[in-house]
């Protein structure tokens, strides 16, 4: 299929690869401005405390200190780091503006209490140590059970029972209780998932500048830059036009940088000092202060007919917000959508409680609730398969959604290749040969397991979606593409340049990406919900089509044929019926600028695109593991992900995303554990030496299968792809462990201790 295209489906040199490979790419911490000050934040050592008094004089008097701020210096305007009152939520705003720039009360260990700006880092450190805060310690609730007990201390005065939100599943249908009664098999289980950390390598770093005209410029890694600008304008009571947000290169996000963190504090310091201020978090601050995956405990019930048909599914979820609601408000809700809408099922219901606790904040991490919920759904499917005597592969095939049915988001499915993904993946891993082996190689047992998942291509219909792209042709026939997806390192610029290049008829390197500055770029929601390829991609496609039409219009005059007879390819405009009749795009573009064929025109195109769909990319995941039954150690030998993300714009990019997802999934399932001390509320696992993400030595043999089934609404048929390839990794591993040694662990991470304990319990029983 890729043969039809010149650029789509090819691996290209990414536009930013050379800068990154040579060390010349500038991330926020690399940027220096004249007169720049260093900002640092004083954080609460207690999980829950009133702030009685802040003694700051000594700090203010220290030579080199230019500002010390506390909550009393700032207007008390409530906001949420995940952006309040999003007009994007059609169902009504779920967001809780419950934060202030500096906390009015300490609600978790790490909450921001005061901040300083000084001429260098040494002085800033010392200034922090000179600020004396008098706290009144309050009883703290460090987990949802404590938080939900009657009479528990309130994290927020407005939240009774510490409930930040309570939502029911919006696509509920049928009668689950009746269906469960009538089911031939009912599988009923509780699952728990952890506070997985984004653990991106680049620490959070922000620079803010406030100039004499009253304008703010902020360099921020936020993935939703135009929305961040809007929220910052609200916080500071400024018109949005006075705030300019610039994204430098960003060293990873995985969802944590959807929100803003040190931006408001940095801007406040810049305003007070009149100088640019940079705040760089330490990695420990990242671990304590950036939103993590939202931990969940849920009760999942699934009812089946004897023949494996799923008849009912119900989810009751409790998710932890942490000290502030943030993005956890959205994630809990969306977990219901992934979990209850994954398979065909006539009876579905669910609800979620989001609970405040005096712990670091939870929000969105890659998958936005999908990996959390597939952990349970795909293990329950596995258990059902065993009880029904049906092969797990067959059970999935029986229940997966088909073209014409409604997706997990209630939208008609226009394309899906999940069946093909499942079959191909099963064949490649050797499912039939390797299943049920309980291969005994001494103490080592091998097994295979699988899972499936479906994600989305943008937040429609739950969120308003909008991306605008602008393209202008240069006189050498190259084009500048002005777009602003967030780019935390997903290689989206390459994909967008391929879309533009294919449509325009030039090479990928002829498209220059202009991005990262909200003063230049037009509105784009940013990057989340795997929207960029699909939504920004379509905006790019339509904008380029407009430019192409102008190009053909001008060329038709020169070639003296109608525009409808013309096509573009390889930097030329040519007549379809007679390709010899051609002219270079460069010549047309240049001549148009200088008015040689008519009025002066810089050929360009612009499109504000709103989707009317969000096609689901799908994937099948297959893991082969080896379990040492004496030590409980699990080695993932092989992992295969078969992906259906529509037309593949760039195979290397999609593979790279999927391979990274395998690593993150292995961490989620086996090695990553975010530990909060249940006495002090402090994060114990707060750097890479205590929070262990997989290294190269932990990776299995991998294979990524790209199953292309073009979607009718995607740009060149492409669907979203960034998050999907993580959702099924952890449950596939859990299912493979079960196949190998017959024990099922529903709590994460699966550690060797837990496996040995489970094996012992099984022997006893």
């Amino acid at each position: 299929m890729a043969e039809e295209f010149s650029v789509i489906g090819k691996t290209i040199t990414q536009p930013d690869a050379v800068a990154k490979a040579t060390g010349s790419a500038l991330y926020a911490a690399d940027i220096k401005l004249p007169g720049m000050l260093i900002g640092k934040v004083l954080r609460s050592p207690y999980p829950h405390a009133k702030i009685l008094r802040i003694e700051r004089t000594k700090a203010e008097k220290l030579p080199g200190v230019k500002a010390v701020i506390t909550k009393d210096d700032l207007l008390k305007i409530a906001y949420t780091c995940s952006f309040r009152d999003l007009p994007m939520i059609r169902a009504g705003s779920l967001q809780r503006p419950d934060q202030f720039i500096l906390a009015d009360k300490a609600r978790y260990v790490g909450d921001a209490i005061a901040a300083v700006a000084a001429v260098n880092e040494h002085i800033a450190d010392e200034a922090l140590s000179l600020i004396k805060v008098e706290y009144e310690k309050l009883p703290a609730v460090l987990n949802p059970e404590e938080a939900m007990k009657p009479g528990a201390p309130r994290v927020h005065d407005h939240a009774e029972g510490n409930i930040a939100g309570h939502y029911t599943y919006r696509f509920a249908q049928g009668d689950v209780e009746k269906a469960f009664k009538e089911a031939d098999l009912l599988v009923d289980d509780t699952y728990e998932t952890t506070k997985q950390v984004a653990a991106q390598l680049e620490p959070q770093a922000v620079i803010a500048n406030y100039d004499a005209t009253g304008s703010v410029t902020v360099w921020s890694p936020c993935q939703l830059p135009h929305l961040a600008k809007r929220e910052l304008a609200h916080i500071f009571g400024m018109p949005a036009g006075k705030i300019r947000l610039i994204n430098p290169f960003v060293g990873g996000s995985f969802g944590c940088r959807l929100s803003i963190y040190n931006e408001p504090i940095c801007i406040a310091l810049a305003m007070i000092t009149g100088k640019p201020v940079k705040i760089e978090y330490t990695k420990e601050e990242d671990f304590a202060c950036l939103e993590t995956r939202t931990p969940a405990r849920y009760h999942l019930r699934m009812g089946f007919k004897k023949d494996g048909t799923l008849t009912a599914v119900q989810l009751k979820l409790i998710v932890w917000a942490g000290g502030y609601a943030g993005r956890s408000q959205l994630v809990g809700n969306v977990m219901l959508i992934w979990g209850l809408g994954h398979y065909r099922c006539p009876n579905r219901a669910g609800e979620v409680y989001n609970v405040y606790t005096n712990t670091p904040m939870s929000g969105a991490m890659r998958g936005y609730g999908n990996p959390e919920i597939m952990w349970g759904v795909e293990q329950t499917m596995d258990m059902a398969a065993e009880k029904l005597g049906i092969d797990p592969v067959e059970l999935r095939l029986k229940n997966i959604l088909k073209v014409g049915e409604l997706s997990n988001k209630g939208l008609p499915i226009e394309s899906t290749a999940l069946e093909k993904c499942i079959r191909m993946g099963a064949e490649r891993i050797g499912w039939k040969e390797k299943r049920d082996r309980r291969e005994k190689g001494g103490s080592r047992c091998r097994g295979v397991g699988m899972a499936t998942a479906a994600q989305s291509s943008g937040g429609y219909p739950g969120l308003l979606e909008h991306s605008t792209a602008l393209i202008k042709l240069n006189e050498d026939g190259s084009a500048n593409l002005i777009v602003h997806p967030g780019s935390p390192g997903t290689n989206i610029w390459g994909a967008l340049s391929q879309i533009a290049a294919e449509e325009l008829g030039v090479f990928a390197e002829d498209i220059h990406i202009v991005t990262g500055d909200t003063d230049i770029t037009m509105f784009d929601l940013g990057s989340h919900a795997s929207r960029s390829t699909y939504v920004t991609g379509n905006a790019v496609l339509m904008a380029t089509r407009q430019a192409k039409n102008q190009l053909l219009e001008r060329a038709s005059k020169r070639l003296e044929v109608s525009p409808a007879e013309l096509e573009t390819k390889d930097r030329k405009v040519y007549m379809r019926e007679n390709p010899q009749k051609s002219i270079s795009i460069a010549e047309i573009a240049r001549d148009a600028i200088y008015g040689l064929d008519g009025e002066c025109l810089n050929i360009s195109g612009k499109c504000s695109w709103e989707p009317k769909s969000s096609p689901s990319p799908t994937a099948a995941f297959f893991a082969e593991v080896e379990v040492d039954t004496e030590t409980g150690e699990v080695k993932v030998l092989k992992f295969i992900t078969a992906i259906d993300s529509g037309r593949v714009i760039n195979p290397t990019t999609v593979e790279g995303q999927a391979e990274g997802a395998i690593a993150q999934g292995i961490g989620f399932a086996l090695t990553e554990d975010y530990v909060i001390h249940q006495g002090t509320g402090a994060v114990e696992t707060n750097n890479f030496d205590s929070y262990k993400i997989p290294s190269i030595a932990d990776m299995p043999e991998t294979e990524i299968i790209l199953v292309e089934e073009p979607d009718p609404t995607g740009p060149f048929g492409a669907k979203g792809t960034g998050e999907l390839s993580l959702a099924g990794v952890a449950p596939a591993i859990a299912n493979a462990i079960y196949d190998a040694v017959g024990v099922r662990i529903k709590e994460m991470p699966i550690t060797p201790d837990k496996i040995l304990e489970a094996l012992e319990r099984r022997e006893v029983s």
Partner: protein
């Protein structure tokens, strides 16, 4: 302690700069010499993004006191490119899709260089061992391994052509 004038040999150039003994090599590179290609992340020697070569050996520059490497030959990511010609390892990383967010890339490339200088024909197991101190959260390491193997081949071919 007062600052001292110290000579550093970085990427083939000698710099004489005033430093405090408490400055790490990473600080000197980034803040004094403006070589921001080498990054800071964990600060405790667990992630490898700050990796540079000192006399050909990979070290964590965030855990190296600058004064202890005065006069030694220091190589950073900026020292790999020759004019406009990328080093084969850089080229391999680019060509094999081994770069996503890019933050781990300089450290990865430096560790890869140390490996290939010592073992021009590494097995996958040797690559894993040599790179186990460089974390990446984006790529899953697959294309990084592929790039290192490709770079090994390219360097070998380059040797053959020169030799």
């Amino acid at each position: 302690m007062k600052e001292q004038m110290v000579k550093f040999l970085v990427n083939g150039t000698t710099y004489e700069i005033s430093i405090e003994p408490s400055m790490t090599l990473l600080e000197v590179l980034r803040d004094k010499l403006g070589l921001t290609g080498t990054k800071l992340s964990c600060g405790v020697g667990s992630c490898g993004v700050c990796t540079v070569l000192v006399d050909g050996k990979a070290v964590n520059s965030c855990l190296t006191l600058a004064i202890t490497v005065k006069g030694r030959s220091i190589l950073t990511i900026e020292g790999l490119v020759k004019g406009a010609t990328l080093h084969p390892i850089q080229k391999a990383f680019i060509d094999h899709g081994a770069i996503q967010c890019g933050f781990c890339t300089p450290g990865m490339i430096m560790s890869a260089k140390a490996l290939l200088d010592e073992s021009p024909n590494p097995t996958r197991a040797e690559i894993e061992k040599a790179m186990e101190g460089n974390l990446c959260r984006c790529t899953g390491y697959v294309k990084i391994s592929n790039a290192i193997l490709a770079a090994a081949k390219a360097l070998e071919e380059g040797e053959k052509q020169n030799g």
